[in-house]
Symmetry: C2
Subunit: 491 residues, 2 copies
């Protein structure tokens, strides 16, 4: 794979200087155009030690307008990073739309290092690479342009480089212990790199291998490649990017949904409610302490009809817990920093640290509920979202996070009663808007969307719990009970 | 001080329930109004163990709309937090305008704990409290409403509480080792608390002491207090909040500014430039590595006229460094998340981790430059900013961060030449807009603002370096030299 990058290609000074002026103009013009575009450019810089990765990043910063470019470098993860799923640190560093983000190190470093140091075997590596493929596909599906550059340096060139650096007292310091160690394991590194690139050079995000020995050749090749692919991407009609929507079986008007199976007559008498509520809250508070000690994090998701009583349930949960371990994230309109990112980005922001709880009052399921029904997301976007969400939740659970999802269900009549009641209670009036009445009219569409959502995203690792909500007391105790049981199983 | 909070005040159930309904309505209405206001409410929850802090936070969450309230709790700092000045973690957690942020633990916990555990003496505590006064004043000056609640529990009540909890097997677990230890050092804690409250109960942010023994009394007192002060603050005419602007000595049309003292004829021949540039870049790269090893962070600030050549200098600096240790923050219009915070918030976001560099291309000095000249900041705001900025930079340097500030100076004729040249170079055209020409017309106003800025914010710990910029080569080498010297002194 790397043979073509061991030809010792160089570029003479004159040609180089002529090209640089043109490339710089090109890059700056490109950035201008890009700033009006609705997608980010994610540039991964990987490759062999000494192949000029750091130098290339510097040159790009030198040639481009710093206002549209940012670099993130990934060292050892911090403890805030270690306490979350592995990709959290990369989500933090993704560039917003219209900008170029250079990721130095990126999600390839750790898998490659682990394999080179024999901490995983080939199948372990393959599993990590598969996860990378999934992650990259998701970014690209959302419109991101992913440019993956691999800087290569043959072994002979490595030796030559180190010799040269050591000879000059001014550059000697640049040769570190790590360089010498890397040289020793060069063959091994090369094999692992080949496997990695082979498995992750996908149609949507192919690798570009760049010969790293000659600085001038490296700089112009890198810049030319970036220019070409970004230009091509800008020229593309945005609509042509949309994946063809898979055939989607639509439920008919009278088809039953999964919600029809719920027995909304279930209820609880006041006395029984009081007792059970106290019991479960007691259990929950003990479990929350245990979770904190064992550093097991929990994510609770609440979805449901307007006025279904999500807030009431959430308050019964938080009432049983230490406010210090807990964060409730009410999901409303995104901020502009959030709007400039992938739709999952704003949820990644709030992933809890080890041992804590995050409760999402509405969540990423907005994508396949309101965004689907109201047409805010295109068909291929929400169809794709089921898979993306499953992958996201799998990642959470594999990190050891307990994911508990509730749909709180009421029927149309009950909803109307509650709307009216809210309008009569002064401190609840703000909860009722015209939009709530509008949404009511699309009840069947929403019911179908809920049906599809449960069908496609109720997984072994993150199942949906449907709560009969017509009786508030029943709903609260039921949700508490389920939460306790899920935690007990996990702890 | 605490005697008035040891009266054993209670509230009977009936009165309580009647009051609660009213308080809840009040709080919800208040939140609605607050959401349209241009200031945040910062609610600090402090006090004795067992005085119901956590319970109060839960009640507030239960009574209020979760969409306008957020709680941050402060445990042991994470390593990302430890690598920055002590207040960084609190800046991260400040609520945006129109919302209520509950800070649980807050900036009082650590000083009190340190003093109780005898890790500092009284004067050490006083120093920390003074810093808190400065920080709080800054928040309040910016319009924030700071409510500081101290929950008190007398010693007898403490004993009574623990006895009661231990008797019931269901609540026994709530008594921790920490509670018992706290009981032992109760007298000491009380003395330290009294000193702390005494020194930080300022006119702009007084403490409210709440007797914590009876849950009902505690809840209603807390809610009533919050209602009162927030209502009062909302009712205030925003203009009345403006501090009276101090008499400000304005420079006359023909007064010389500090910039006139610079010798803009200074220049460097090409050959000497090449040599010196290489030398200083070499020195800088060694110093940057050393800084990384010694975990000394550096903040470099660039201010200067449009087209003064800031970008060119920055690129010569970054060109000498490992892109992984460095972040360039180009300061443009704030995002909406930034606009909803104190003006320093968006700079705090980018404070480097240990051993790294952050280069701000324009900075917080915008407050006393463009915002002053163009009238974006009111007079009292920019006058206050000199002090706020000095305090901010002192905090940075006390954490061990090296703060290097450059003003790059050119004269009006040189600027015009450069504007014209830029218009003729295709890849620099985007740098010139009509606004640049508009700003040019206010040259004298800006010169006066620069003069005041240097006069008032060139401190021993963070002095200004004025760079003669008419000759680009001179300016680049000069800035590199100064940066190297500052780093050499610090490392």
């Amino acid at each position: 794979m790397f043979e073509a990058a061991e030809l010792g290609r160089t570029l003479d000074k004159e040609t180089y200087e002529a090209q640089v002026a043109e490339l710089r103009t090109g890059l700056l013009t490109l950035q201008q155009e890009l700033s009006h575009c609705d997608f980010p450019v994610i540039l991964l810089i990987s490759g062999a030690d000494g192949a000029g990765k750091s130098e290339t990043v510097n040159i790009l910063h030198q040639w481009m307008d710093p206002r549209g470019i940012q670099t993130a470098a990934f060292d050892e993860p911090t403890d805030e990073e270690r306490e979350r799923p592995a990709f959290w640190r990369f989500w933090r560093a993704l560039p917003p739309k219209g900008q170029i983000g250079i990721l130095f190190g990126s999600w390839y470093s750790d898998p490659i290092t682990q394999r080179v140091e024999n901490r995983v075997d080939d199948s372990g590596l393959d599993l990590m690479l598969k996860r990378i493929n999934i992650f990259e596909k998701m970014l690209v599906d959302d419109g991101a342009l992913l440019i993956k550059l691999w800087f290569h340096l043959g072994r002979d060139m490595q030796v030559q480089r180190i010799k040269k650096l050591r000879k000059n007292p001014k550059t000697r310091w640049q040769v570190s212990e790590r360089d010498l160690a890397a040289l020793k394991s060069y063959g091994r590194f090369r094999t692992v790199a080949e496997r990695t690139l082979g498995q992750t050079s996908t149609g949507e995000a192919p690798w570009m291998i760049i010969e790293g020995f000659d600085e001038r050749y490296r700089n112009t090749t890198t810049a030319t490649h970036i220019l070409e692919v970004v230009r091509k991407r800008i020229a593309l009609d945005p609509k042509s990017l949309r994946g063809a929507a898979t055939a989607w079986k639509r439920l008919g008007e009278n088809d039953k949904t999964i919600l029809d199976a719920l027995d909304l007559d279930r209820h609880l008498e006041k006395k029984a409610y009081r007792k059970q509520l106290a019991d479960y809250q007691g259990r929950l508070s003990v479990l929350a302490r245990k979770a904190r000690e064992q550093k097991v994090s929990t994510i609770v998701v609440f979805e449901g009809w307007d006025a279904a009583g999500k807030g009431g349930i959430i308050r019964r949960i938080t009432g049983a817990m230490d406010a210090r371990s807990l964060r409730v994230i009410p999901v409303a309109a995104p901020t502009d920093e959030e709007r400039a990112q992938h739709y999952l980005w704003r949820f990644w922001r709030h992933i809890p640290r080890a041992g804590r709880f995050t409760i999402y009052d509405r969540s990423w399921y907005g994508r396949v509920l309101v965004e689907r029904v109201e047409g805010y997301a295109a068909e291929d976007e929400w169809i794709r979202a089921y898979r993306e969400i499953n992958e996201f939740e799998e990642e959470l659970t594999e990190h050891g996070i307990v994911v508990v999802k509730f749909w709180v269900h009421i029927d149309r009549d009950e909803q109307l009663l509650r709307f009216k009641a809210r309008e009569e209670t002064s401190f609840k009036q703000h909860k009722i808007t015209e939009e709530d009445y509008r949404n009511r009219e699309r009840w069947d569409d929403y019911a179908h969307a809920v049906n599809d959502m449960v069908e496609r995203t109720s997984t072994v690792f993150a199942p949906w719990h449907l709560i009969e909500g017509n009786d508030k007391r029943w709903a609260r105790v039921r949700a508490l009970k389920i939460l306790c049981e899920r935690l007990e199983k996990a702890l």
